[in-house]
Symmetry: C2
Subunit: 450 residues, 2 copies
């Protein structure tokens, strides 16, 4: 399998680096290994090794490798290049990859890189730069094969044969009018079985999925997934003109990012997080998240502080209170995760929120009662005090009820206000379950035990 080969390649590079044989490493990085493997090797390397490896890569290979690197890692290398190097490297890139890279560079550099290009290429790239990176326009490529509707199948074949090669992932010919207006697609699979004398117009698909250049990348990904597309034409909405096409390989990246986004955000990590970012950069990013969570922790402590005299009299409360808070936190994050994922895949809408909320509350109460009973039994044995057992049981049920409520409504509400539920959800949820857990347990204890 190729996967094992990759591992062997990595091993080979590591060994040749360690032995100090730069010649062998140079050989491996410049052609012996596929560009994708070199990119993965760079992403899997700590900063020092990463820079060392990059220096051993010849300029003519840099462009191809750059396009396989994550944005954060490629930016590290691009920042260090002067304009001349940038121009040399970017000459080797496809227009969509180049546009992605240019979007992360200072304006003055972009202008210089653009001015060094041929007029035709510049025009292409400038067209892409008009669209945000996470839109259909930012995802598209301009390497379309277009035909007119009035030619015959046979002529289409002859037209294709005049090419030296067709772009990768060409599964459709795109049919356009004389003024470049998009008319329909002709799948190669259909062209190949068609009667040579038919005209393109007669056999082309007009019910094709058309993507507007301004459509968000998320929507494009959902369409590709739903309709099992390999490529789809992108048009300018106002004129209906064909601008380019989006291919599945770029969409797969969107799908992976989208699916990983929630997990990383819930831990306060960036989508494009570099596993091997240097110490200071990592410290700074993590510090922010810890700071936000520290506020949560102090709010919880403040609530406990309100019941200082109660705890002073019954120390068992201090021992048991984390149980109530943590069970609420766990139950709440299960609901939160489920709802965040449901929103991301488009399963949750206003029509089914009510049912979901009802179910979660019932599930929360059922599990509240079940675990309240078990915790109560364990507690009454531990502290030999049936009143504390009653109180922790009741507090647990209350907290699991609010955990269900918050876990369901919080992400939906955040989403409604345009706040990323994955990023803000877990912090707010923990605050809620901590506060309610301590409030219920210590409050009930103050009321009934003193």
């Amino acid at each position: 399998m190729r996967e094992q080969e990759t591992q062997q390649h990595f091993q080979a590079v590591t060994e040749s680096l360690e032995s100090g044989s730069t010649m062998q490493t140079r050989y491996l990085l410049n052609g012996a290994l596929p560009a994708q493997d070199v990119a993965r090797l760079l992403e899997s390397s700590p900063p020092k090794e990463r820079n060392l490896l990059w220096e051993l890569i010849e300029q003519k290979n840099e462009g191809e490798i750059l396009q396989y690197l994550s944005e954060e890692v490629s930016a590290q290398f691009l920042r260090k290049m002067d304009t001349e190097e940038l121009v040399a490297v970017t000459e080797q890139l496809e227009s969509d990859d180049l546009a992605d890279i240019l979007q992360n560079l200072p304006e003055t550099v972009v202008t210089e890189v653009l001015s060094s290009m041929t007029a035709q290429n510049r025009q292409r790239v400038e067209a892409l730069l008009n669209y945000p990176e996470d839109s259909a326009g930012g995802l598209m490529n301009t390497d379309t094969i277009t035909v007119r509707p009035n030619i015959t199948v046979d002529i289409a074949f002859r037209f294709l044969r005049r090419h030296d090669s067709l772009p990768d992932m060409t599964d459709n010919l795109l049919v356009v009018s004389r003024s470049d207006r998009f008319l329909g697609t002709l799948p190669l699979t259909k062209l190949l079985v068609a009667d040579p004398n038919m005209s393109i117009r007669e056999i082309m698909d007009t019910e094709t999925t058309i993507i507007n250049a301004s459509a968000p990348a998320d929507e494009v990904a959902q369409l590709f997934e739903k309709l099992d597309l390999v490529s789809a034409p992108v048009i300018e909405e106002s004129t209906g003109k064909l601008l380019g096409r989006i291919t599945i390989d770029d969409v797969v990246d969107v799908i992976r990012d989208q699916a990983e986004h929630s997990m990383l955000s819930m831990a306060g990590l960036d989508d494009d997080e570099d596993t091997f970012a240097p110490i200071l950069q990592t410290s700074k990013r993590r510090a922010v998240w810890l700071g936000i969570n520290l506020i949560t922790a102090f709010i919880a402590s403040y609530v406990i502080g309100l019941f200082q005299t109660t705890i002073d009299q019954i120390v068992a409360l201090a021992i048991l209170m984390p149980i109530v808070a943590s069970m609420g936190g766990i139950a709440g994050s299960q609901v939160l995760t489920l709802v965040i994922r449901g929103i991301a895949v488009g399963h949750i809408s206003s029509s089914n929120t009510r049912w979901l909320l009802n179910r979660e509350i019932v599930v929360g109460l059922i599990n509240g009662v079940v675990w309240a009973f078990i915790v109560a039994v364990l507690t009454s044995f531990w502290f030999d005090d049936i009143r504390i057992a009653y109180i922790i049981a009741l507090a647990l049920i209350i907290n699991l009820f609010f955990a269900a409520l918050a876990g369901t409504l919080l992400p939906i509400t955040l989403k409604y206000f345009g706040i990323d539920p994955a990023l803000a959800g877990s912090v707010i949820l923990t605050t809620i379950t901590d506060v309610i857990g301590f409030l219920a347990f210590l409050g009930l204890a103050s009321a009934f035990l003193l």
Copy 2:
């Protein structure tokens, strides 16, 4: 955009259901809406509506819709069918989808369904059933277009034209020997620009990515992502015989599942979790996870209990101790998430673990010191006691150090022992940061404050 259309469709079905007009709903479900939209509608519906909708779908459409449903949801419908219905429905499916479905049915039913099929189809499906669902063999389809190497390009064209249609996602012809041994691929993009008199052997690619039927689905997904494939041939390892091909649409599902797996597992949820599962099923699953976490909570409480007399004398400790535990938990899960993701995308190996561990420990200590200082200042103002401030600061640094250690080594160790780090990691990590947090804070307080 299609996405808006889908929403409108959903709206239409909901309204027609509510108005009691089953005729209108029937019309929408049976042809007016694409099968993918019907599947998504079913997945977005609570149990009662879901069953109602399913009853309105005509048998002849059920098969197509089934293949777009998640396993858990499709199993709900399949379980209720008798064998006759199953046979009727499964007749409409592609062989790989059928094999997936059969793998979830009782053996006796499978035998009956198979015996109802034509010999050729049975053979195809039986071949797929030999491979686990999450292997290349389980992902593949048998709809390959094969040619012999000795024919010319021109004859290949004529051969293709004899088909009424070519399978979707056909981007390659697969070249095989007389005994069905796989020899190479011929991309359509290459065929279309080739000289008609050349032989297939002369222009075919032999350096093609070949996938063994036993390869795990994860590896297949990595290959497709790395090499931007649309389809790839699957062979029987021992004989080199062509068995079928895997297409990107099935791989996209694997990629999404893979990326979602970590997030869902970390919250103790199933990969294939049905957002709208009924109450009892949901309660049972959640209860298990709460129970596991309850053990963690009791361990933490036990540790606090060890310092009962200390807390009894200084109640401020009870108020502040959750801060130490929760900051450790947050810092630890950031590292844990990063490492789990790094393992999943193949960035972490034995050669870079050491660097990563070092970085995480340094980052943990830096952030430990920074936040310890801030917490100490806040605490000394709150409780007017500089000694408690020193102790919470020290405890925080200790806990963030161990959080970094556990967050890095735990997933790597679990992975080494074949345990899913996403599933077990978060529970064990919380136990560690809770125990160390309480132990350090209360232990130091006992030693220096009493």
